[in-house]
C-alpha cells in the first residue's frame, strides 16, 4: 500500500502520546499514513508551522485553536478540531512554603477546601502589597482557564489580587525555584520535575477542577479537512487505536519508555509513567498517590469533540477578558469542534458514536448511558468542582451569574 505522508507538530508533553504511539506502534502505517512528527518548543511556532504548511496537523491547546479561528492575536485562520487528544492531565504546583500554608500534608485536599484556603492567602498577600504570581503555559490555554475557574469560584478577585502570565513549560520549574512565580499550572512531566527538584508541591490537579475537561486537540486548518476528508478519517482512526494502546495498563512502562526517547519528550521515563499510570508524587520524598483519571485519553468517547466543550472554553475566554462576547464569535468558536468529521471517520466501525453533539457540561454526576447512533456508550462524571453547570444554549445567563 502506498503511504501518504502526513506531518503533525507537537510540544514535548505527555499528552502528545497519541500521535507518537500512532507512529511508533504502526497504527498510522496500517492506515496507509507515513506519519512524521515535528517537535517545537513554543505553541506560537507549532501554530505558525500549521498555518504556513510546515505541518499538516498539530497537537494543540484547545483554546489556541479557537483563538486562531477568531483572530485574537493575528489575522484569523479557521481551524478544525476533528479529534480530542486528551482530557485533563495538568496540575497546580505551588512553592513549598505556600503549599505548606495551604495544609493537606501529602494528600490532595478537595478543591473547595484548598481553593478557599488559597483565596485567603491570596487576599492576605494582596493586602500586604505582594500579589501572588502564577505561571501558565499559554495565554489561550486550558491551564490558564481552569486555574482562573478554580480561583474565581473560590472567591478570588483575579484581576485585582493576582498576576497570571505565560511561561514556557521547560522554564516553569526554574521560575518557581527562582521565586519569580509562586505557583504554576502546567502539564506533565513538568509538575513532577518541580517536585523532584524540591522546588514545588502539587496542590491540585485539573481533573479535580473540571473532571473530563478538554485539554489538547488535534487541530488543522479547516480547509485541509475539506480538501482531504478521507485522509483525515484514516488519521483519526490511527489516533483512536493509539489511544487504546496508551491506556492499556500492561503497556504503561513501554509507552513511557517510548515517549521518553530523545526525539520525543527527551525526559525521564519514570516521571512520564507516573502521569500515564495516574500515580502522582505530590511532594519530594513522598510516595506517589493514586489519582484516578488524572489524565484521560480513550474511554467514554474521550476523543469525541463535544461542541459544548468549545462553548465552555469561549465562555472562559470572555470571563478572562481575552475577547469581548459576540454572537458571531461564539458560533465560530463552536464550529471549530467537528463531531461530524469524527462520526464520518468511524461510521460502520464498532466505535461508539454519541447521538448528540453537545451536552450540558457538568451535568453528569454518576455514570450515565447516553443515546448513540452506533454502539453503546456510558459517560462518567464530568462535574465542575463547585457543582456549576454550563448550558451552551444559555451563555448570557452563565456569564451574568459569574460576573456577580
Amino acid at each position: 500500500m502506498t503511504q501518504d505522508r502526513f506531518r503533525i507538530g507537537f510540544l514535548p508533553l505527555v499528552d502528545a502520546a497519541l500521535p507518537i504511539l500512532a507512529r511508533e506502534l504502526g497504527f498510522a502505517e496500517q492506515e496507509g499514513i507515513d506519519l512524521e512528527l515535528v517537535r517545537d518548543t513554543s505553541w506560537a511556532t507549532v501554530r505558525d508551522r500549521l498555518i504556513y504548511g510546515h505541518s499538516d496537523a498539530a497537537h494543540l491547546l484547545a483554546p489556541l485553536a479557537i483563538a486562531t479561528t477568531l483572530g485574537l492575536d493575528r489575522p484569523a485562520v479557521s481551524m478544525a478540531v476533528p479529534f480530542v487528544l486528551g482530557l485533563n492531565g495538568n496540575a497546580v504546583t505551588l512553592a513549598p512554603s505556600l503549599a505548606e500554608a495551604l495544609g493537606g500534608k501529602g494528600q490532595l485536599l478537595d478543591s473547595r477546601t484548598s481553593g478557599q484556603r488559597l483565596a485567603e492567602l491570596i487576599h492576605l498577600r494582596a493586602q500586604e502589597g505582594a500579589k501572588l504570581r502564577f505561571g501558565v503555559v499559554h495565554r489561550y490555554s486550558s491551564h490558564n482557564y481552569m486555574l482562573q475557574y478554580w480561583l474565581r469560584a473560590s472567591g478570588v478577585d483575579i484581576a485585582r489580587d493576582t498576576e497570571i502570565f505565560t511561561i514556557a513549560p521547560p522554564f516553569a520549574t526554574d521560575a518557581l525555584a527562582a521565586g519569580e512565580v509562586d505557583g504554576i499550572c502546567v502539564g506533565e512531566p513538568w509538575n513532577s520535575v518541580a517536585v523532584e527538584r524540591g522546588v514545588g508541591v502539587i496542590v491540585n490537579v485539573t481533573s479535580h477542577i473540571w473532571l473530563r475537561g478538554v485539554e489538547k486537540v488535534l487541530a488543522m486548518p479547516a480547509s485541509r479537512v475539506e480538501q482531504e476528508p478521507e485522509l483525515v478519517h484514516r488519521l483519526i482512526r490511527a489516533l483512536y487505536a493509539a489511544g487504546k494502546a496508551f491506556v492499556d495498563p500492561e503497556r504503561s512502562g513501554a509507552n513511557a519508555a517510548l515517549l521518553a526517547r530523545a526525539d520525543y519528550l527527551d525526559g525521564s521515563a519514570d516521571l512520564i509513567e507516573r502521569a500515564i499510570a495516574d500515580k502522582i508524587k505530590l511532594a519530594a520524598g513522598q510516595e506517589p498517590v493514586s489519582i484516578p483519571d488524572f489524565m484521560f485519553q480513550h474511554r467514554e468517547a474521550a476523543n469525541f469533540p463535544w461542541v459544548s466543550q468549545a462553548a465552555w472554553l469561549y465562555a472562559q475566554m470572555v470571563l478572562a477578558g481575552h475577547t469581548d462576547k459576540a454572537d458571531d464569535d461564539y458560533a465560530a468558536a463552536q464550529r471549530v469542534f467537528r463531531p461530524d468529521v469524527y462520526r464520518a471517520a468511524f461510521a460502520g466501525t464498532n466505535v461508539p458514536l454519541p447521538g448528540a453533539s453537545a451536552k450540558l457540561e457538568g451535568g453528569i454526576a454518576n455514570p450515565m448511558g447516553v443515546g448513540t447512533i452506533q454502539g453503546r456508550l456510558t459517560l462518567g462524571p464530568d462535574s465542575f468542582f463547585d457543582g456549576r453547570l454550563f448550558d451552551p444554549e444559555q451563555l448570557d445567563s452563565y456569564l451574568d451569574a459569574t460576573s456577580d
Binding site: S42, V137, T166
Partner: protein, 193 residues
C-alpha cells in the same frame, strides 16, 4: 525605524545585524538573553521585532504584545493577506516578525526581505559547516579502518582502500559505513586497540 532582533544564537544575530546595518538601518537592538526580555523590549519600544521562529520565548512575548496593545504602543504580527507570500518565505527561512500596527507595508517589506536573505545565508553556512564536519569525521573513520586492514592483513594503503570500496559496492553501503562496521567488529573482538 527601530528594529529589535531577538535570537538565542549570537552568530545568527550578528549576521542579521550586519545585513541591516549595510542597508542603512542603524537603529538596531539585539537581544540574546531570555531573562528580563519582556521588560527590556517594552523599554526599547521597537517598530519591528525580528525573532527566530523556534525561539522558546515566543509564547511569553506574544502575550506581552497582546497586553501592550491595550496599554501603549500596539504591536501586531506582520500579516496582511496581500503579503501571504512574504510571510510564508519568512516562516520558511525560520523567522517570525512583529510590527507596530499601522506601519506602512512598503517600509516593512524590504526589512523582512533582507532578514529572509540573511537567515537563508546563515542556514546555508550552517549546512555547509555540518557537511564539512561530517566529511572530516568520515575521513577519520576510513583512515582508521585502512590502518586496521594494513596491520592485520599486511595490505598496502591503496589495497586497503580498494578492499573497503569493493565491500561497500557489493553490500550497497557507503564506504564510511563499512569502515565503521570494521572498527566496531575490531573493538568487540578486542583487536589490540
Amino acid at each position: 525605524m527601530r528594529i529589535a532582533v531577538i535570537d538565542e544564537s549570537a552568530a545568527r544575530a550578528a549576521v542579521i545585524e550586519e545585513g541591516l546595518r549595510e542597508a542603512g538601518l542603524t537603529d538596531l537592538h539585539i537581544f540574546l538573553e531570555r531573562q528580563g526580555l519582556a521588560a527590556q523590549l517594552e523599554a526599547c519600544s521597537p517598530d519591528v521585532v525580528l525573532m527566530n521562529l523556534e525561539n522558546p520565548s515566543r509564547d511569553m512575548l506574544e502575550e506581552t504584545f497582546a497586553l501592550s496593545r491595550a496599554l501603549a504602543r500596539p504591536i501586531a504580527m506582520f500579516v496582511d493577506h496581500s503579503d501571504e507570500n512574504t510571510i510564508a518565505d519568512a516562516v520558511d527561512a525560520g523567522i517570525s516578525a512583529y510590527v507596530v500596527d499601522g506601519l506602512r507595508k512598503e517600509r516593512i517589506k524590504p526589512v523582512l526581505d533582507l532578514a529572509v536573505r540573511r537567515f537563508q545565508a546563515f542556514n546555508r553556512l550552517q549546512t555547509e559547516l555540518t557537511e564539512a564536519k561530517t566529511q572530516l569525521a568520515e575521513r577519520k573513520v576510513v583512515d582508521e579502518a585502512k590502518r586496521i586492514l594494513m596491520t592485520k592483513r599486511g595490505l598496502s594503503e591503496p589495497d586497503a582502500y580498494k578492499l573497503l570500496r569493493t565491500h561497500a559496492m557489493q553490500s550497497n553501503r557507503r564506504i564510511a559505513d563499512v569502515a565503521q562496521a570494521l572498527i566496531t567488529a575490531e573493538n568487540m573482538l578486542g583487536g589490540g586497540l
